[in-house]
Amino acid sequence: MYNLSALEIHSLFMSGKISAVDITQYFLKRIEKYDPMADAFLSLFHSRALEKAHLLDRKKREGKALGKMAGVPIALKDNIHIHGEITTCASLFLKNYKAVFDASVTRFLEEDDALILGKTNLDEFAMGSFTENSAFKKTKNPWDLNCSPGGSSGGSSAAVAARLCPLALGSDTGGSIRQPAALTGTVGFKPSYGRVSRYGLVAFSSSLDQIGPLSTNVLDAAYLMETLSKPCKRDSTHFNGPVNPYQSLAKKEIRGMKVGIPYQFLDSLNPELKKNFNATLEVLKTLGVTCVEVNLDLLKYSVAVYYILATAEASTNLARYDGVGYGHRSIHAQTLDEVYELSKQEGFGPEVKNRILLGTYVLSSGYKDSYYKKAQQVRTLMFEQFKEAFSHCDLIAMPTSPSPMLPLGSVHEPLEAYLQDIYTIGANLTGLPAISIPSGFTASQKPLGFQLVGGFMKDSVVLQLAYHLEQALSLKQQIPPLFDKE
């Protein structure tokens, strides 16, 4: 069952061929067997998931209506709240924090009868590109256990790549769904900003964060998007538009579409990755898609803009972790000030501290105009440049990551890590939808990803081209050999 898609599992359940309890037990057993190798999960919900599975089987027997995701197992990144369960954000600060409400996406998944199996590992507070900043464990890339699965949704991407579950939720602030998807040979989609409610997603950078699907194929991502994009009145940045039938929209014809490529910006790309990227463009051309050149030279500033804005917003969002009402409180604190200072000192990892310091600096008096305001202005210029590019094409294509998976512990310098996001950050800064799909392997069998970016709220167009491209690429080797067995 591990090599079935989410849609196939749902179909098997709905036709009565397999029970929800059997599905749940199968995947929980598989996780127990293989997760010690992948280290993708931080927590598992045996009794919760089985209880839900029994309920679904009973509903089915009694002929009651079932949700559109009935019987489908899914994992959630551990920065998304499930009421009554621990949300750690992979931080010592929240090691024992019990969520006091359901995220909207959790509620939508439960309403649609999905089976939530557990929470996956991430970089602490979603800050990182290798999932190595987790306070608890280092997730391994299922294609090479000495390598990182990318980050910050490394746990979710590894879980899906190893087929420990067919679907997972991640969050993407600077590429944190797409980059790990590329590095693990899976599909990762970041919706348009505001398309999916952020209520219950622990905030890192409020104007950039988005929840999105990680899956083994594009149609499953479209399927999950139909549940995730339901209306929510609790997120004031939620677009609250109609839920699109993403699955059927993905199957629409793509002949005649135009894809824009910022060739100049891709000049310094590693030759092996460039070869794969160009080969993928050739496949697009066989599908009747035209490739045109577009100018996105402002993208070279994207890392600088991001590390001003995201850290500024993070410094504000993480100010709430003060050790008073919840989370870690230092036993050494003798005054109220020490409650704050020592709890943060002990609770936060080095990268989180790095970003809080940087964010506070760029917002501090005397600097706010030259850093924060400047970055927001450059962001406007970037949005305008993308808009201009979209007057010449329907979608923009770029590689997802400047490098394939890297050995664990190989990147120490923060700036070197930040530059891993060079191709993904643009879509977060401009709020545009973007997807990464597997596009092949390097000579040494490392997965590669191809990225498509669409116009604002044109999520279905992104899924549409991605779906047809994926079908045409029909990659033969999709499951990491170590996990391609019962």
Partner: protein
């Protein structure tokens, strides 16, 4: 390169309310300085009269709900996460340490 000196770093960590060890201070100070130098790159761009970014004009409308009280958090559930509490109240050390600061 904008290097943060010890005084600046101390002021910054005070603003963040994070008490860093001396060793951490060295690493963090160096990291922050390196990144601050990198972001100087933005000075190359002319942003005169460019408005700061906002997606609002792309079709967002204000999402307001009815001003109706809904179920909130019960005290019992809230207290489950509180590190130290007494009689239903959150307990914290004093603002001033009577031995040190009076």
């Amino acid at each position: 390169m904008h290097k943060l000196n010890q005084e600046e770093f101390a002021a910054l960590s005070k603003l963040c309310r994070i008490k860093c060890s001396q060793e951490e201070e060295k690493i963090l100070s160096s990291n922050v300085s390196k990144i601050l130098s990198y972001i100087e790159l933005l000075k190359e761009l002319d942003t005169k009269d460019v408005p700061p970014f906002s997606l609002i004009k792309e079709g967002f409308t204000n999402v307001m709900r009815e001003d109706v009280a809904l179920t909130s958090l019960s005290r019992e559930e809230f207290l489950e996460n509180v590190p130290s509490h007494v009689d239903g109240m959150v307990k914290v050390p004093p603002f001033l340490n009577p031995e040190k600061d009076s």
